[in-house]
């Protein structure tokens, strides 16, 4: 064939090389978040609580803290979880408390991600002096003692829910910042980011189109874990008496039970349920967050460290003729075998 034909043949790539793609639904279902049983369980539990927090209060009429029954009444058919030290229905209290605790969890996580995310992003992307300054600030915030600070804030600015949300968000954003900074630094060095820069892309485009999408999944995983901590933080803040007195939250329930001497009265139903609720939600968040992190962080995978122990089997039938006996079944499309 002529040189031109030969060249054309050299340069063209035959069109049949690509495997068919799985449907969108399938891809969604196999994404790291949903495919993992652990995160599915975690998400379901969380979902359940959110549902209760949203819908529950619709079924509650009147002030939850009103006295509707005897003080520290044990669980009965009327009061499934008994009553607390003020004679209020524990179940209703729990439902209202869910709303507040979850609100605090999500809201302070939002604050923390906003601050920590921005700091980490700018620090990691720009490096140099920006990085040094931002990291110093991070170090100072990290060093601040959390509880004394909360006491001071409560004393100076009052004990409102907003303040609690802000405090939790402002004290605890540092780990997000550090995590994100490390991720952003690494992504920034990737070849496709360098290539986009070589094309002439500006920093804004590099950050929003290339870097951010790559770090968002880890950020989300980190946020979920933060929610767990925030809910727990609200609990102990309120327990220490720094919480908003007008708001019912799980932390307040525990605090109330404590100040009302529930234990002395053998009223376990006043202390245990809110504690269990907090634990379960925290557990659910942790399960989800961890599962997401494991799926997203390739370095956590340790399959290559597994023990070397192969299995023996008999040689396949009559040689390789038509591929008989190999046991390979042409099945649903598999991803193309990338060169190693």
């Amino acid at each position: 064939m002529t040189t031109a034909e030969q060249t054309a043949e050299q340069t063209a790539v035959p069109a049949v090389a690509l495997p068919p793609r799985p449907s969108r639904l399938r891809r969604l279902l196999s994404s790291p978040v949903l495919a993992n049983r652990q995160s599915l369980v975690g998400l379901s539990i969380l979902g359940l609580f959110v549902l209760v927090a949203l819908i529950g209060p619709l079924f509650i009429h009147g002030d939850v803290r009103a006295k509707v029954g005897p003080v520290f009444a044990p669980p009965s058919r009327r009061f499934w979880l008994g009553t607390d030290g003020g004679g209020s229905d524990m179940v209703q209290l729990l439902v209202m408390g869910a709303r507040v605790s979850l609100l605090v969890g999500f809201a302070s996580a939002a604050v923390s991600v906003l601050i920590g995310g921005t700091v980490g992003l700018l620090s990691g992307f720009y490096g140099g002096k920006t990085d040094i300054v931002l990291m110093r600030i991070t170090d100072y915030v990290l060093v601040l003692p959390d509880i004394p600070l909360m006491i001071v804030v409560a004393a100076l600015f009052g004990r409102s829910l907003t303040n609690i949300i802000l405090i939790i968000g402002i004290i605890y954003w540092t780990s997000t910042a550090r995590l994100l900074r490390a991720q952003v630094k690494s992504v920034r060095e990737r070849v496709y980011v360098q290539r986009a820069r070589a094309l002439g892309a500006g920093n804004a485009r590099l950050i929003f189109r290339h870097v951010l999408p790559q770090v968002t999944p880890l950020l989300i995983a980190n946020t979920v874990l933060f929610i767990a901590y925030a809910i727990f933080a609200e609990t102990f803040i309120t327990f220490l008496g720094l919480g908003d007195p007008s708001i019912v939250s799980w932390g307040r329930l525990i605090e109330n039970a404590f100040t009302d001497d529930a234990i002395l009265n053998n009223a376990w139903w006043a202390i245990v349920p809110p504690g269990v609720a907090v634990t379960v939600v925290v557990l659910a968040c942790t399960m989800t967050g961890q599962a997401m992190e494991d799926a997203l962080n390739p370095r956590l995978r340790s399959g290559h460290l597994s023990v070397r122990r192969f299995r023996l089997r008999p040689v396949p039938g009559e040689g390789l003729g038509a591929g008989a006996g190999t046991g390979a079944v042409p099945a649903s499309p598999a991803p193309p075998r990338e060169p190693s």
């Binding site: 050299q10 340069t11 980011v193 094309l199 002439g200 892309a201």
Partner: protein, 337 residues
């Protein structure tokens, strides 16, 4: 400074390029007043690339070839020297003007598995250059993307537009990267080891694309450690050692009639395909000294098989040895004697 040059002479002229990195001394080092040390990645490199010409920068690791390529595009800043692209000195340009000039010079990277954003479909990747420089409407872009994909051998383009990188093979990804750099119609293409991470059977396909593009007027600067590839595809070869060009000339001449001892040694150890061809290898002892501690005089003299006393004192210039053609130069005082 306008974005258009004079149009005559070589498209790219590099003169006396120097790139240095300071070595971190740390707090203790500074306190002890340890002398500031530099990594002399590129120490005075001069060469040119004309339209329709493929120049190969060849050398081993640490010789500065990749740094040179990056400095040509000002992806890293050089400390001294000039880089004239179509008459314009890019080292003197500000960020904004540099960005505008980027449409005319592009780069392809070595690793096809890392050079495409895994979240971008092929179409978005190839169109990115157009989007960044605000070129054309959506429909225009789609057409230009299709054209670029065809130039890169991915036909029919419709088959590839909606794919993600992980669905493509290494060779296909590299073609996408090439298409992405061609979308704006650059005049200079820098190819940094374009095929070293690809299987042998697909390399020629990629190199032939560059070959064809070169034939239609594109200037190509290819960085490679593979002398055989350079010999076969490049018009001219520049051999680099420790931050300098030690020999340059037409590819055929450099390979068949090397003038510099380093080039001779390098050529002798490149394995041949033919098992009957047993070349007597001139294996140099030791490894390339690091670019922080550059030997005095001729940089190569500690490992040179024919070094004489004078070599320790003189730093030879790149010049045409007596009797050889003008365009074939070597930096060795013994060349041509």
């Amino acid at each position: 400074m306008s974005a258009n040059g004079n149009g005559v002479g070589p498209l790219l002229e590099v003169e006396g390029l120097v790139v240095r990195y300071p070595v971190q001394r740390g707090v203790t080092g500074a306190a002890m007043r340890r002398e500031k040390q530099f990594v002399h990645a590129v120490s005075g490199v001069s060469f040119s690339v004309s339209r329709g010409e493929m120049v190969a920068l060849v050398g081993e690791s640490g010789c500065g070839k990749t740094t040179t390529a990056q400095a040509v595009l000002q992806l890293i800043r050089s400390q001294e020297g000039s880089v004239r692209f179509d008459g314009i000195d890019v080292t003197a340009l500000g960020a904004r003007e540099l960005r505008r000039l980027r449409r005319r010079m592009q780069i392809i990277y070595q690793d096809p598995y890392e050079s495409l954003d895994p979240r971008f479909r092929v179409e978005s990747t190839v169109a990115e250059a157009l989007v960044v420089h605000h070129e054309g409407t959506r429909r225009d872009r789609r057409e230009r993307v299709a054209q670029a994909l065809e130039l890169a051998g991915l036909t029919p383009p419709e088959l590839y537009l909606n794919r993600y990188p992980h669905e493509l093979s290494g060779g296909q990804r590299q073609r996408v990267a090439i298409a992405a750099s061609l979308a704006l119609g650059p005049e200079l293409l820098v190819a940094d080891e374009p095929v070293s991470m690809l299987d042998v059977s697909v390399r020629a396909g990629i190199l032939t694309i560059l070959d064809t593009l070169r034939d239609s007027g594109l200037a190509v600067l290819m960085i490679t450690h593979d002398l055989s590839t350079a010999a076969r595809f490049a018009d001219r070869i520049c051999v680099m050692y420790l931050g300098r060009i030690v020999e340059e000339g037409p590819a055929v001449q450099v390979v068949e009639d090397p003038q510099h001892p380093y080039t001779k040694a390098l050529l002798s150890v490149v394995p041949r395909r033919d098992p009957r061809r047993r070349v007597q290898p001139q294996i140099l002892r030791g490894e390339t000294p690091n670019p922080i501690d550059v030997p005095p005089g001729c940089r190569f003299h500690p490992r040179c098989p024919v070094a004489i006393a004078e070599c320790r004192a003189t730093d030879p210039e790149l010049r045409a040895p007596v009797g050889a053609a003008e365009e074939h130069r070597a930096a060795c005082i013994l060349a041509g004697r």
